[in-house]
Subunit: 366 residues, 2 copies
């Protein structure tokens, strides 16, 4: 019996997921948004996908933006892999076709303010949206963990984590789409998986600063020592803050310390746009100039809006938590154009300066 998964979004991650889904034996309907026509065209000509550099998995069925409900017909699973900004609009249009789906796999990640400006994670926003239209969504399975689209597309080993408040649904979905290369762990901590994903983009900006400092030191000071100690200090503080933020939305610290947090932060610090944006600032560009350059190159830096929405989230839920989030504060000041962002971030992640006596001499050890 043919079983169908419909993937909404034919960008990097949407097209990449076709690789494990096809390998696991599914009929894959890949639907492109109104912005994806040229991507589908490249796939039809069997060229590498423009966003991943990898050819689409053989046997994937392509659907144009006008064919949304056709693409959803008979879908047992629906995977949402739309850029954050378009998620709500696409799911709204897809609602009439979601009735038979057993689960909604959510690869898109981010924060979404409601009409009153209250910041929510996507699953809550999507359930509210469906409810406003008198519908119920199928169970949402949040997809997290260190999954670069080009590597998933190429069949590189990848460990995802599927989070669903109904753990059994997460298990079944993981079993249904796992392959020898693409494997999914499971958790019932939906909110933990959801909040780690945008936050790792925010913190990757801090990791990038260290890489940029190293490039600048090589060029200007002709010193060879990298800033790896600094990068690692940022990394450790980022993990600590992701643990805090997980608890903050009633998620679990294990999620932040596992694939969804530590794992995804590691991969995001190795490559990607958020890191590259941080590296530009570390090299000495102003934050606005760096962002303009990225935008001009059609490179979205998802960590920037996520940082501002995370600020709202903290302000709205418990402003006292800021004392545990010095790195997030420092990154927000970086985005706002702090004149010495690396020093500001260092002050946030390094342990407090030593208490030196008034004489300038170290204090005695008793």
């Amino acid at each position: 019996m043919t079983r169908t998964v419909t993937v909404l979004g034919a960008g990097a991650m949407g097209s990449a997921l076709a690789t494990p889904f096809r390998e696991a034996g599914w009929q894959v309907n890949l639907w492109g948004t109104w912005l994806d026509d040229h991507l589908l065209e490249a796939c039809r000509q069997d060229q590498p996908h423009p966003r991943t550099g990898v050819r689409l998995a053989k046997g994937t069925c392509l659907f144009e933006s006008g064919q949304l409900l056709d693409a959803l017909a008979d879908a047992e699973l629906v995977a949402v892999a739309i850029a954050s900004v378009g998620v709500l609009e696409v799911v709204r249009r897809a609602l009439p076709g979601l009735g038979d789906a057993r689960a909604l796999l959510l690869a898109s990640k981010g924060f979404s303010p409601d009409a009153e400006g209250r910041v929510r994670l996507f699953p809550d926003a999507l359930r509210s949206l469906a409810s406003e239209h008198g519908q119920r969504l199928p169970p949402i399975v949040a997809i997290g963990g260190p999954c670069k689209a080009n590597e998933v597309a190429a069949g590189r080993w990848t460990a995802a984590i599927f989070g669903c408040t109904n753990r059994s649904i997460a298990d079944q979905a993981a079993n249904a789409v796992s392959t020898s290369a693409y494997r999914a762990a499971t958790t019932d901590d939906e909110v933990g998986v959801e909040i780690c994903a945008p936050m790792k983009n925010v913190y990757a900006i801090g990791l990038g600063l260290a890489d940029g400092l190293q490039e600048r030191a090589e060029l200007e000071e002709r010193t060879e020592e990298p800033f790896h100690d600094f990068k690692a200090a940022v990394f450790a503080q980022a993990v600590s803050e992701m643990v805090t933020l997980c608890r903050f939305v009633s998620g679990r610290s294990e999620t932040a310390v596992g694939l969804a947090g530590v794992g995804d932060l590691e991969v995001t610090g190795l490559s990607g746009r958020n890191k590259l944006y941080g590296a530009r600032i570390g090299r000495g560009e102003s934050a606005p100039d760096a962002l303009a350059a990225m935008t001009a190159a059609e490179q979205t830096v998802e960590g920037v809006p996520a940082a501002h929405l995370a600020k709202d989230l903290v302000d709205q839920r418990d402003a006292a938590a800021w004392s545990s989030l010095p790195l997030l504060s420092a990154i927000l000041e970086t985005l706002d154009g702090h004149p010495d962002a690396p020093a500001r971030v260092a002050e946030a992640v390094l342990p407090r300066a030593a208490a030196i006596s008034a004489s300038g001499q170290p204090t005695a050890i008793s």
Copy 2:
């Protein structure tokens, strides 16, 4: 009043620590072992230190191997920065000069079996050694965290963590040697700091495999996709296992999730000999060939003996813990020459394969 810190070991880390210690206002006596004569000679000629590429901090006093007790005279602090293999012998010789020291800062890290072969961490081994000689050591402050010697020497931002069972001593030592660039957090979890340091070397071998696979793929398959997802999956599993090992020796999980574990693993996965050894194996060299090549280049791979001693530690204390340590098992098989180490490690770090029905079709989602 002049206050003196004596650093035992003039290799990379010993010479590097002179930078913050001098900056913090200490008289620094740097003592070289019988293997360090050529290193001291380079320092005397104001050449870059051969192991760090950075000039020794100005005003550091140098002591030859025969001048051990002279170097220790009036030392308020003694820092041990000897290669693991020489730690016990050097401290044994230093015992007569340690009487006045207020704390023993322990930068050397590793496991040390006792006469019966029972594996201990260095602080226990050193306290036993002193006791056998009818002496008591000053309080031991374990130094951990992401501290590359060349970066510490160059005054790059560095976040260390000082662990002492007497937290107040850790705080005082941290205050006494911290500078604007070198900062130390503190903990009373001495064993946690101690066990993370050798284990991060072991796990960095696994991180290196991913880098080696990428190099091989570029050369042989001409594919460009890296193995970052794999590296991140290894990283997340390594953190999970360091948490397990911390608890195992009555340390705390926060230590493994903080600077000593996550932070030090991050920096060790960015560069260093353990990672390079793993990369050789990932490129396709056999483990013995890779180790021979490193040894020929005078590059000690500390993770190799540490892995074998960690195996003994687990076997001796609680063999049931192996079920939580699949990556350590896989790395041990890698060192023993497993014919496909990357696949063996992938099997250890990727979530379990999907349960596929006998028909080869995915199972239904109910």
